[in-house]
């Protein structure tokens, strides 16, 4: 998975064609750490179909807030640089995330 920062966020996400998945997380967030192995497995399983990224919000707070993310874990799908779907922390269920990816890829 690509580690996002304020330096590469625009290029990797907003200026990117196709579907981009971003996991907004932080090492201090226990639920995020609990999910991380599942997220990595999800990215591996779907490698080549979309771009998979994660953003550590601890050092990139402003960037997260600019994306209207003020709580983690949050998963955001972007399509051709536009926000396409958001999973807030209570809605995250890897089956549903996979289904959304399949749907976005059409």
């Amino acid at each position: 998975m690509i580690d996002l920062t304020k330096e590469n966020f625009d290029a990797e996400v907003l200026e990117s064609e196709g579907v981009v998945f971003v996991d907004f997380w932080s090492p201090k967030c226990e639920p995020c750490m609990g999910l991380l192995p599942d997220v990595e497995a999800f990215a591996e399983k779907n490698a080549g179909r979309a771009k998979f990224c994660k953003l550590d919000t601890a050092g990139n707070k402003r960037l997260a807030i600019a994306q209207k993310v003020m709580g983690i874990p949050t998963f955001v799908f972007y399509k051709n640089g536009e926000k396409a779907f958001v999973f807030n922390k209570d809605e995250i269920e890897m089956g549903a995330v996979q289904a959304k990816l399949d749907e976005l890829l059409g």
């Binding site: 932080s26 201090k28 967030c29 226990e30 639920p31 995020c32 750490m33 609990g34 999910l35 192995p37 919000t57 601890a58 707070k61 997260a64 807030i65 209207k68 993310v69 003020m70 709580g71 983690i72 874990p73 949050t74 958001v86 807030n88 922390k89 209570d90 269920e93 089956g95």
Partner: protein, 404 residues
């Protein structure tokens, strides 16, 4: 799946992890199913000063890591899985997880825990993850130099509010009670009243959270005057109690309260044989790490006794090479003592062709219940593990001879 666990624990919070420690130290094949990382709610609670022995530089996540390491050291397997379905009524229990796996066990300890309650205030659902939060350790970083509101005044609310003051510019606590009245412990209240970054709004509740894409404003209602005041803020943290995560147990035969808490006795037994409850999902008086741990210990020891009872029963009765008369007796029922004497003399006369097993019904309630023993004495004849006949109440040597 051929593997059958002796103890399978649903949920890896402090209750489940302690059950793991006691189960594996009793050399029982013990596993814990946990959907995320072990530690439960305590793993997201930074400020934790009330677990005995841990008060210097300790934190919820830190203590929970030690719990998990302790359980694993003695042989507990911690398996990742979200439990979606259970079948707990037979002698072998089945637990299913969302990834389609099935786990089997002789005993199940239910410790799924609880989660923060939402109040369903207008705007709360829409702005979750956009300024509305239930987890200070997860989201505090976002509110550096910003203003937040905390709703609630119990231990969690006041302790987490103090944690938030390390990040936020100001933390305003909305308290439903009169000025100076908090539900939290006195030590935390004293500390909180001295904290200059905390502001207090008394006699009030939150009426609405407003924001386009992120939280911008809350409406605070004074319950005495009915007056509603607008307050600009960037975040709202709710700490207003918890609800049990027992949805998957509905309709599965486990007795629960109206609110969904699992009903247990002092041995942590539920109404189903071999099924126990531990931790915050139990109907109980105090929900703390220390009481969850105590529940877990009790549940594991009760499960161990239950397994021993099953084992003895299997060896002496079900797998006996000769027919067995199983006498259900009780030391306080004289009639049952006399019946034992009668049975002993009959069995002796058979010269080893029939064996006698005695079961104290007070110590072995499970087996007695399984065979629907309501009268003491009762004697049941088993051959090759099957019930061949039974006598209840007053019986003579002749009756027993006839039975065999």
């Amino acid at each position: 799946m051929s593997e059958v666990y002796e103890i399978l624990v649903v949920g890896g919070g402090p209750g489940g992890l302690t059950a793991g420690i006691y189960g594996s130290r009793a050399r029982l094949k013990t596993a814990i199913l946990e959907k995320g990382r072990p530690g439960g709610q305590a793993a997201s609670t930074m400020e934790m000063e009330n677990y005995p022995g841990f008060f210097n530089e300790s934190s919820g996540p830190g203590i929970m890591k030690e719990f998990a390491a302790h359980a694993e050291k003695f042989g507990t397997s911690i398996i990742k899985g979200t439990v979606v379905d259970v079948d707990l009524e037979g002698p072998i229990k089945t637990v299913k997880t969302s990834d389609g796996q099935e786990y089997k066990a002789h005993c199940v300890i239910l410790s799924p825990g609880a989660e923060p309650r939402s109040l369903n205030i207008k705007g709360e659902g829409k702005l979750r993850g956009k300024g509305v939060s239930y987890c200070a350790t997860c989201d505090a970083d976002f509110f550096e130099e910003l203003d937040v509101v905390v709703v609630g005044n119990g231990d969690a609310a006041i302790e987490e509010a103090m944690y938030l003051t390390k990040f936020a510019e100001s933390v305003t606590i909305i308290v439903i009670h009169d000025e100076g009245v908090l539900d939290c412990n006195k030590a935390s209240a004293e500390k909180a009243f001295k904290n200059k970054k905390l502001n207090w709004v008394w006699n009030s509740v939150l009426d609405e959270i407003i924001g386009d894409e992120i939280v911008e404003l809350v409406k605070v209602k004074n319950i005495k005057t009915g007056e509603v005041t607008d307050m600009e803020t960037n975040g709202v943290f709710f700490f207003v109690g918890t609800v049990p995560k027992t949805e998957f147990l509905k309709g599965k035969g486990v007795e629960m309260t109206e609110q969904g808490y699992v009903v247990v006795n002092e041995m942590m037994e539920t109404n189903l044989p071999g099924v126990y409850g531990a931790g915050d999902s139990n109907a109980k008086y105090l929900r703390q790490v220390v009481t969850a741990a105590a529940d877990g210990a009790i549940a594991a020891v009760a499960a161990e006794k239950y397994l021993a009872e099953l084992e003895t029963f299997r060896e002496q009765v079900l797998e006996s090479p000769v027919p067995v008369l199983l006498a259900f007796w009780a030391p306080q029922i004289e009639k049952s003592m006399a019946a034992i004497t009668v049975l002993e003399s009959v069995v002796e006369k058979t010269g080893g062709k029939v064996a006698l097993a005695k079961l104290d019904t007070y110590r072995n309630k499970k087996t007695s219940a399984n065979y629907k023993v309501e009268t003491i004495p009762t004697v049941i004849l088993f051959d090759k593990g099957e019930v061949k006949g039974r006598l209840e109440g007053d019986f003579t040597a002749a009756d027993v001879e006839k039975l065999i």
